[in-house]
Every structure is written in structure tokens, then in C-alpha cells.
Symmetry: C2
Subunit: 202 residues, 2 copies
DNA sequence: CGAATTGTGCATCGATCGATGCGAAAGTCG
DNA sequence: CGACTTTCGCATCGATCGATGCACAATTCG
């Protein structure tokens, strides 16, 4: 039942696709979809455009795969936060994770899901729509989690799960925008702490 | 003391610069700096590239002037909000104005100051830096306003003006991001109302 | 009128955009 | 070995990018 390690016929790849995708992710993260040219991407990935197209399809597919990698890598704190026992724990972990990820001393500032393609021309419409769905999914998942919290009695019956999810996501995206502009980690964390002091906003 | 209406020598312009700038503003607002090509811009403005360069300088200058027009037009609610009598009134008017402006049924969704150039390539660095300063100015002005509110006794001495300004701007940018993705006006307004219910976050 | 000044229309610039064609290279398989 | 399969290096594609040169049109001034 081992994973299929049989070498495929033909010339083997001269690079590690995962490592190359990680580099591409960083470029998209820092410069956005439209701001990341194929030349910049392939140079950072250390491969030729031919290899990029053969391996990843095209620029939009590369972006889609980079976003997946982002979700499972730098943005994995989201899934972990959703598993916290209480709604307040979820919100607290979500904002703390957002702040940590969007203000890493090394690596791009901000959030790929926000600055990757917020407003684009025709060429970036695919990426833009992809991120709209990505953010919508995040909101829906969070709202569902808060609905469960109401069912659990963790949140009072008067609490509004949809409103609370909007609140936390708004704070998260607002943090991401400020982080993209260079606002420091401590300032944002103080603000997030204060913003959750009145949880659940009744 | 009349404004100088003496016709300048030479052939008169065949278009209204203000109207053309307004069109350019809408294109930048919807597609962002990098996503707005000269062809798209000049077509919307109804003029040739030659006339654009003669009148506005270049693309980056056009963006700068469009941002000024945005500040004094669609974003004028900011200046009006800052004149409200109390800090809570300021915050309330600021968020309400943000929601109205970023979700206009006609016109682009979102905020030019956010989605105009959040992450860019080299070509968009000028625009990006311009918006970073624009947002920093907004934050600083709001913080100063809240400091004055503390001095006035309008806010309690324990209130933290910088933190409150971070809070309101984060909510505003978070609203802008969600509006860019098509989130509706009512959902955002409900959330903003709830977010200010615990003002001033003590 | 003619000279001077300013805006416009048209063509086009070099650079860069994303994307491909093609033959050589580097492996597996019979 | 030779046939087959897959990847790579190089050159280049047509389209679009932002930006400009230049001759002509339209106005003011002397």
C-alpha cells in the first residue's frame, strides 16, 4: 500500500515542484497576481517558463495552486482556530494568527487572500473571482462555527452568528490591509485584544 | 478679484479635464492602478493618449490626481465625519460613510485607497506608496481627533486614542474588502452598529 | 493678415506581457 | 543497443504595455 514511487518514464524533473510553488507563492503574496510577471515568477522559482507551463499549466493555475498552498501553509491557523473549544477562543486565535501571518518579519506583509487580486483588469478576473470565493468560504465557515457555538450554549441565544462572523472577518481584513502598509504587530495585537473585550457584542 | 478667466493663447481643449478625471477615477477605482491600462483609461475619458499625457503628465500623475479627486469627492465623508461633536459620532459617521461609499449600487464597489494598489509590481510601486501614505494620513488624523476628544472630556482619560483609531480604521478597511467582494450594505451596517455598541472599548 | 502658442490625430516606438514550437537531453523499457 | 517518453534550453510568437514624434488644426496676439 505504499505511495506510488515508481519512476515515470522519461527525463526526470530537474527541480522540486513543491519548492518552486513555495517561491511562486511568495512572489504572488508580495506583488499580487497582476504585479507578478512570469519573468519574476520563474526567476524566483529557478525554472524556465517552459517548465512552469509544463508543470503548472499557466499563470492562473499557478496562482490557484499557490493559493491552495497558502491555505494549507501560512493560513493554516484558520483551520486550527476553528477547532478551538469556544467561540471567543476561535475569534481570539483567528485574529492572533492573522496578525502573526500578516506581519512576519521575513516574508511578505499582508494577506494573499486580500492583496492577491482585490481589484484587477480583465486579465486578473479569474484570480479576483477565486479570492472572492476564498474569502466567502472563510466567512461561511466561521459563521457556521458560531452557529454551532450557539447550539452548544457556548454563545447566548441572542448572539448573531452571521454578525459576529462579519465582525471578525472585517477585523481580520482590516488588519491585513494595515499590515500590508507596514503597521506593526504590537499595535495590531493591542487593537485586536480590545476589539474582543466586549465579545459577543450584545 | 475674479478667478482668472482670460483665455490662454493657443487651441482650446476639446474636453473637460474635470469630467475626464472623474472617468479615470472610476476606472482606477474599479480595476486598480495596474489593472487600469492606458487604453481603458483614455477610452473611458473620451480622449487620446496624447491629450492625456499633455494634460495630466503620465499614468502615475493621473492616478495621483484621481486620488485627490476621490478624497474630495466620494471620500469627503471622512472630513465631514471628523467634524462631528463627539468621538462616537465621528466613528459612527466614518463607518456609515465607508459603507455607503463602498457599496454604491452604481459605481465601483470597495475603496480606492485600499484596492487601488495594495500589492503591486515595480511599475505600481509609486501608486502603492502613495496609498500607504494616504491611509497613514487617515489614521493619524483620526488619532489626533480622538486625542482631542480625550482633552475635551468627551472620551474618558483611560481611553486610548491610538488604539481606537486603529480599531475604526481596521473596521473601515475590513468593510472595504468585503464590499469589494460584493457583500451587501445592510449586513455591513448591522455589523458596524454592533461594533460601536461597546464604544470606547474600555 | 501673419506669427506665436497650444491641443489633437495618427502612427509608432522599444519593452514587456503571457504563452509556444522545436529539437536536444535524460531518463525507462524491451 | 534502439524505441519510447518526458523534460529542458533557446528562440520567438502576437498582443499589449506605457509613452512619444510630428504634422496639422484652432485659437490669441501683434
Amino acid at each position: 500500500m505504499e505511495t506510488d514511487k515508481r519512476r515515470p518514464s522519461g527525463r526526470p524533473r530537474g527541480f522540486d515542484p513543491d519548492a518552486a510553488l513555495e517561491r511562486a507563492l511568495l512572489v504572488f503574496w508580495e506583488h499580487g497576481y497582476e504585479g507578478a510577471s512570469l519573468a519574476t515568477l520563474t526567476e524566483a522559482m529557478g525554472i524556465s517558463t517552459t517548465s512552469m507551463y509544463a508543470t503548472f499549466g499557466n499563470k492562473e493555475e499557478l496562482f490557484r495552486k499557490a493559493l491552495e498552498r497558502y491555505t494549507e501553509g501560512p493560513s493554516a491557523y484558520v483551520a486550527r482556530a476553528l477547532e478551538k473549544p469556544t467561540a471567543l477562543d476561535v475569534a481570539t486565535a483567528l485574529l492572533a494568527g492573522t496578525i502573526q501571518t500578516t506581519t512576519r518579519p521575513t516574508g511578505p506583509h499582508g494577506c494573499l487572500g486580500v492583496q492577491g487580486a482585490l481589484a484587477t483588469g480583465d486579465a486578473g478576473r479569474g484570480a479576483r473571482d477565486l479570492l472572492v470565493d476564498w474569502r466567502d468560504d472563510g466567512y461561511s465557515t466561521l459563521r457556521d462555527r458560531f452557529e454551532r457555538a450557539v447550539d452548544d450554549g457556548d454563545l447566548p441565544p441572542e448572539a448573531d452568528p452571521a454578525l459576529l462572523a462579519r465582525y471578525v472577518t472585517a477585523l481580520g481584513y482590516g488588519i491585513a490591509v494595515q499590515a500590508a502598509g507596514g503597521v506593526g504587530r504590537d499595535d495590531l495585537q493591542e487593537m485586536a485584544d480590545a476589539a474582543l473585550r466586549s465579545w459577543p457584542l450584545l
